[in-house]
């Protein structure tokens, strides 16, 4: 029976928000045993929702990303199903301990002693304040791999700067490189590409450190600065400056490589953007043959007959006219219908999908990108994302639904640590073991 790639690797997850949990999700998908440690007495600001106990009223008017709780109800334990954060909690276990107390720390230390990797992505001084650092972990487990994913690294003047993904991207140049060409960066939406990227790189770093440890027997400290990692997303802008001393400007949806036309064009819409019913199609023409194909699908309109448009350079110089001509045409078309006609002709194109339409797409459906699973103490099943690593002999599956806080207290305390009945009851009474956040937390 083949083993999953990371089977046998035990990872302690001391993470918040997205970059860390996303990294450990990937490890869990690949077979690692990921154990979250959570403190029921301290509300983690960005991990299990905006607040512990949102009311129905407080969620009114919020979009799906922040306000879309199961069956549109906050439910009995809202922290277990915040739509913002719940997806990366698949394939993980969770136990609780009051880490503000010496005993809570000692419990964590005992778990670390039985683990291979410790991952955290808190603000740079958070773990130190608790007394958790590399040396402390090594005293419990000499060959531990500690992976830290701070916003700006562990050294230098920015080490303690607070940041979400959107802030570290600002420092690395992104908001001045993206967004509408005719508006200043205050029009930019808040995005979290940096979190995603930091998580991807951190997962890779952990896999490398685990491989190294198998060969050498040595653990190590790994530092993933999310900001520094994120810079790779802007590689061409860095290279433009390195080679020519100039900066790229905001290009909207146009191509940095001057492929033209390249953009997002309106399609027939059943309703307005405010209700999520506007429709758009993305089109990129990368070469003359694709331009010819596009002209054919359009029915060879007069405006596209201009011979100057027959070359890449000619099209790159006439992008405003191309965009106007294309938009006039696409606005009469259905986005999916046009998508298939353009692709059949060999033109790169796709509808810009609002999330509910991605959930309904036949290609995603047929590829099985969604997994229907139950949630802890909520009725019904929901389509979560399935792992995207498709390895037929060692298949990554959605084997554990998004984990509820403390769902594996019995496993961690009794099986892993060998805690007896009497001590278990004492630890419950003293507030280490719980499935509920402290009632004082709103």
């Amino acid at each position: 029976m083949p083993r999953l790639p990371l089977e046998g690797l035990r990872v302690v997850d001391f993470c918040v928000a997205w970059a860390g949990p996303y990294a450990t999700m990937l490890l869990g998908d690949l077979g690692a045993e990921v154990i979250k440690v959570e403190n029921p007495h301290v509300w983690p600001p960005v991990m299990r929702g905006g607040r512990a106990r949102p009311t129905r009223e407080s969620l009114a008017g919020m979009g799906g990303m922040y306000g879309g709780y199961p069956n549109d109800e906050p439910g009995p334990r809202p922290w277990n199903y915040s739509p913002t954060f719940v997806q990366p909690y698949r394939n993980k276990r969770s136990f609780t301990a009051d880490l503000r107390t010496p005993e809570g720390l000692e419990i964590l230390r005992r778990v670390v002693a039985r683990s291979d990797v410790f991952v955290e992505n808190n603000a740079a001084d958070t773990t130190e304040k608790l007394g958790i650092d590399y040396e402390w972990l090594r005293s419990a487990r000499p060959d531990i791999v500690m992976v830290r994913i701070p916003a700006f690294g562990l050294s230098g003047p920015y080490a303690h700067a607070r940041a979400l993904g959107v802030h570290l991207e600002a420092v690395m140049g992104h908001p001045l490189l993206r967004g509408y060409r005719d508006m200043d960066p205050s029009s930019n939406s808040i995005i979290f590409a940096g979190d995603y990227f930091g998580g991807l790189q951190a997962a890779l770093a952990i896999m490398m450190a685990a491989w190294h440890r198998k060969k050498t027997g040595r653990g190590q400290l790994v530092e993933v600065s999310q900001a520094e990692a994120a810079s790779a997303m802007f590689a061409q802008a860095y290279m433009e400056h390195a080679l020519n001393g100039v900066s790229h400007q905001q290009l909207g949806n146009r191509s940095i490589y001057n492929a033209a036309p390249c953009g997002v064009y309106p399609c027939k819409s059943p309703g307005p953007a405010s209700s999520g019913d506007d429709r758009w199609i993305a089109i990129t023409v990368t070469c003359d043959s694709e331009w010819e194909a596009l002209r054919a699908v359009m029915g060879r309109p007069a405006w596209a007959e201009d011979p100057a448009l027959g070359t890449c350079a000619g099209r790159a110089e006439r992008q405003d006219a191309l965009d106007e001509g294309l938009a006039t045409w696409t606005s009469r078309e259905d986005d999916y219908d046009l998508f298939h006609r353009l692709q059949a002709a060999g033109v790169p194109a796709a509808p810009v999908l609002e999330a509910s339409r991605a959930l309904a797409d036949q290609h995603f459906e047929q590829r099985g990108v969604f997994a229907s699973r139950a949630l802890f103490d909520v009725a019904g099943k929901f389509r979560f994302l399935a792992p995207f690593y498709r390895m037929p002999e060692t298949p990554a599956t959605h084997r554990q639904s998004p984990v509820a806080m403390g769902e594996h207290n019995e496993y961690v305390y009794r099986e892993l640590l060998g805690v007896g009945e009497e001590e278990y009851r004492r630890l419950v009474a003293e507030g280490h073991i719980s499935m509920d956040f402290d009632e004082s937390i709103p």
Partner: protein
Amino acid sequence: MAGALDDLTILDLTQYVTGPYGTRLLADYGANVIKVERPGGDPARRLGPFPGGHSHPEKSGTFFYFNLNKRAIVLDLKNPAHVEVFGRLVDAADVVVESFRPGALDQLGVGWDYIHGRKPSLPLVSISNFGQSGPYRDYKGSEVVLFGFAGEMYATGLAGREPVKMYGTAGLVQAGAAAAGAILAAAMVGREQGIGQHVDFAIADALLSSADRRHSTLIGHEFSGRKTVRRASEAVGLADGVFPCRDGYVEMHGSARKWERLLDMLDRPSWALEPRWIRPEAAQDATTVEEFNALLTGWLMERTKREVWREARRARVLCTPLLTIAEIFEDEAFAERGFWQAVDHPYLGTVKTPGRPFIMTDSPWELRHSAPLLGGNTREILAELGYRGDELTALDAYHPPVEVD
């Protein structure tokens, strides 16, 4: 100290951005990555930026960045002698990676059946736009097409305008980082368990799972029927959004989350201490928000973005400057942390570029190779594969080096 992956050989047939970035990350930490280019080279060699804007196959900034630390050979997989070279490369590899159209490698006779037949423990990772199966298998992609279809482009931008993408090829680069994990996992299984497998990595799948909001908007809708839409205007919340300052802009999303810290950052001016700002309904009242933000902007306009960031760091407020690329290049803190690496290149001279992706203390990043020239390592790779004498000379002569202009 050696890189963590110094015992892995990766046969890399990928092109453009996603695959090459994935294998570069592995090459960065010691993997022996042999890039096989088709005659004429990776099409990324035709993508800028170029010095002075002049296109040249050895001067592509895109190719340079995504192919550091690799060695390269040119093979024409329609030529039987070259297929034999490819076969020996397969024998020596721990994982093969490709990013051609689905089925293209099979048509050349060197696809999964060939690789698995030749070396059963060897995995093949196929990177594609939409995957190796499903109705859109053969569809073409691009940054905006894939990010629009699978990523969270729909809710990016303003409601009155078109959805708007990220910079350049940010989504394709993200997918490359995700693909690196698939490549390494497949190599691990091959080496440890002797199991070869054909891994299907779709850029669309990875972006659909993106932690940049898409996983949240999907499950938010699945849970509740609620949609996530573009906001109506660039209007911002109370001390929340992008604000101008004396020499540019600062990013302040979430900065009012801890009000006392924000007051501390501002050094508690009398205008900020007025009780009307901290009424529970203040953040929902457009007039109040506008009034506060006008006063805040006045404070910001008296300071540079770096001065604002210094105060924000002191007070631990979520607030950072919008730096230009030029400012990042000149920043002392990034330089002192070792963010940059000077890379020598025969055509580009010495290039200052971001170096290590992350810091591994016991198996560090190392610059071992500059970006490879077209066929630049052919001779040494052929020799490593056991070719000698006339046979080696004949194969090596196939692709003469590009002349320096």
